[in-house]
């Protein structure tokens, strides 16, 4: 296939504080092409930070270093704030977990989408509105005209998340970073939102970085999965092979889930092996 959208090598993110430094992401390398890549891990594994570092939206104290971190040839490490601003939204956009907090509560939904469009395209208000309505329709919102004039608190969580997706897709980015986009949603709504996301991403050939703690979801939704633990990628494998994962951590995570088809009295709690911190990792089922 063509060149990857994102090419990261040996990415490290460190926080310096009075108590010394703490490395939250410790030397990870990955590429993302026009595919759906899932990043799974528990809280604190560094998965969100990795996603944010691509947009340089990490907290102030974070020190990012890498051998290289490229987006379609642009060196993200060297890019200044001005350059980043053209990349954000235009080329890489981000869907956040909770629409309740990521939509502006004081602005009508339609206007927020129009704003997103006009920031990146030169368009007259009327034209932008037509575009926004079409976008709302493409995320399967039944009465776009009505929803256009609503405020975020007047829509449900599932609809809010679809609005977020509409807003992030309207500038037609090359890559979408979705940070737990469906974990605030119900199972039935979740499926609907994912179907829409999948539809739009596949149709436009957009790359997707899907950050989640839900292994099953990632296994069924993504093409490839990166399993993160303590700031490292423990395993990088095709999603369909997730259930035959080699790394003990991935296996333990899978076993800790309550399962409908396999009743157990007590769930397995993953035991953490300190040797994983610096131990070997797996790539496509092979040790490296």
């Amino acid at each position: 296939m063509d060149k990857p959208l994102i090419d990261v090598k040996d990415l490290r993110i460190r926080f310096e504080s009075a108590h010394g430094s703490h490395e939250a992401v410790r030397g990870i390398s990955f590429t993302i092409g026009r595919e759906k890549v899932g990043i799974v891990g528990e809280s604190g594994s560094g998965k969100s930070l990795t996603g944010r570092s691509l947009l340089k939206l990490t907290p102030k104290g974070a020190k990012i270093t890498a051998a290289h971190m490229r987006f379609r040839g642009t060196d993200l490490l060297a890019a200044g704030e001005k350059e980043m601003r053209t990349i954000r939204g235009n080329h890489i956009s981000m869907i956040l977990q909770d629409p309740k907090y990521s939509l502006n509560p004081l602005m009508r939904i339609g206007n927020q989408i129009v704003e997103a469009y006009r920031l990146h395209h030169k368009a007259r208000p009327a034209e932008a509105k037509t575009k926004a309505l079409a976008m709302l329709e493409s995320v399967h919102i039944r009465e776009p005209e009505r929803v256009f004039d609503l405020f975020p608190h007047e829509v449900s969580g599932g609809m809010g998340q679809r609005i977020m997706i509409a807003m992030m897709l309207i500038p037609e980015p090359d890559l979408i970073i979705a940070d737990e986009p469906t974990s605030a949603l119900d199972v039935t709504v979740r499926r609907q939102v994912l179907t829409i996301l999948d539809e739009l991403v596949s149709r436009r050939g957009t790359g997707l970085m899907f950050i989640s703690h839900d292994l099953n979801l990632v296994a069924s939704f993504c093409d490839r999965v990166l399993v993160m633990y303590a700031g490292r990628i423990m395993e990088d494998l095709p999603a369909r092979d997730l259930h035959s994962a080699r790394h003990p951590y991935t296996q333990a995570l899978l076993e800790s889930l309550p399962r409908l088809d396999h009743p157990v009295d007590e769930l397995k709690v993953p035991l953490r092996d300190p040797s994983w911190l610096n131990g070997s990792v797996y790539h496509n089922g092979a040790l490296i």
Binding site: E42, V187, V189, D214, N216, H243, L253, P258, D261, P263
Partner: protein, 262 residues
Amino acid sequence: MNGASRFLIEAVGLSVSFGSQNTRVRVVDDVSFHIRKGEAYGLIGESGCGKSTILRALSGLNGDYEGALVLGGRELPKRRGKDFFRRVQMVFQDPYGSLHPRKIVERVLAEPLAIHGFDRHSERIGEILDAVGLGPSFRYRYPHELSGGQRQRVAIARALIIEPEILLLDEPTSALDVSVQAEILNLLKRLRRERDLTYLMVSHDLAVIAHMCERAGIMYRGEILEELDAGQIRDSQAKEDYTREFLQASIEAVARRPEVDA
């Protein structure tokens, strides 16, 4: 009222409405269910189906309901007395929001003891911390010094320290990582066995309910569509269309392995 005492908890024709006059919406509509002593009963459904509203009505957080809630054969008054809270305690969804940020664990745990006039505060706090798997070192910590799982353990300890019979669990693990979820679910299972507790658990996660509860009511738009036992949930034996769809949506995500292996 006779015969009702076979059940520890009973809801008879429970309805809850919000809003006034023409905007009034019935969010729980004529719901009836019962829970035997020592049983774990689950309520499953999507957000907005009324499952948490039932829990809030039962726990006394919302006294504005119609119908009857019966505890041990006696109808509960709309305003619950102290004796009710002595028997029924609740664990909330969000361990980050349910602990006072400026109280150390010891103070959090001492409060219910003082309210209900218990003796031996210090020993009881030590015992309960031990029971929920937190060592004595956690006693003098603030919530911000604890992880999500540890906070949920403190919340469970706070509920259990006055030795209630019933725990109301409102999505106790949905804010936690899977590995921590496994720990908390194991803990709740063990405590129920050891202390002969009765659980009413609300969740949107079918696998969690099937793991924890013997029976569950599937809710949709304020009604319990049907009751299934854990086996029926696992085998997707549902009569109602909605339930079948809901089970399907959940199973698709959960039971992926057989398909993959095939």
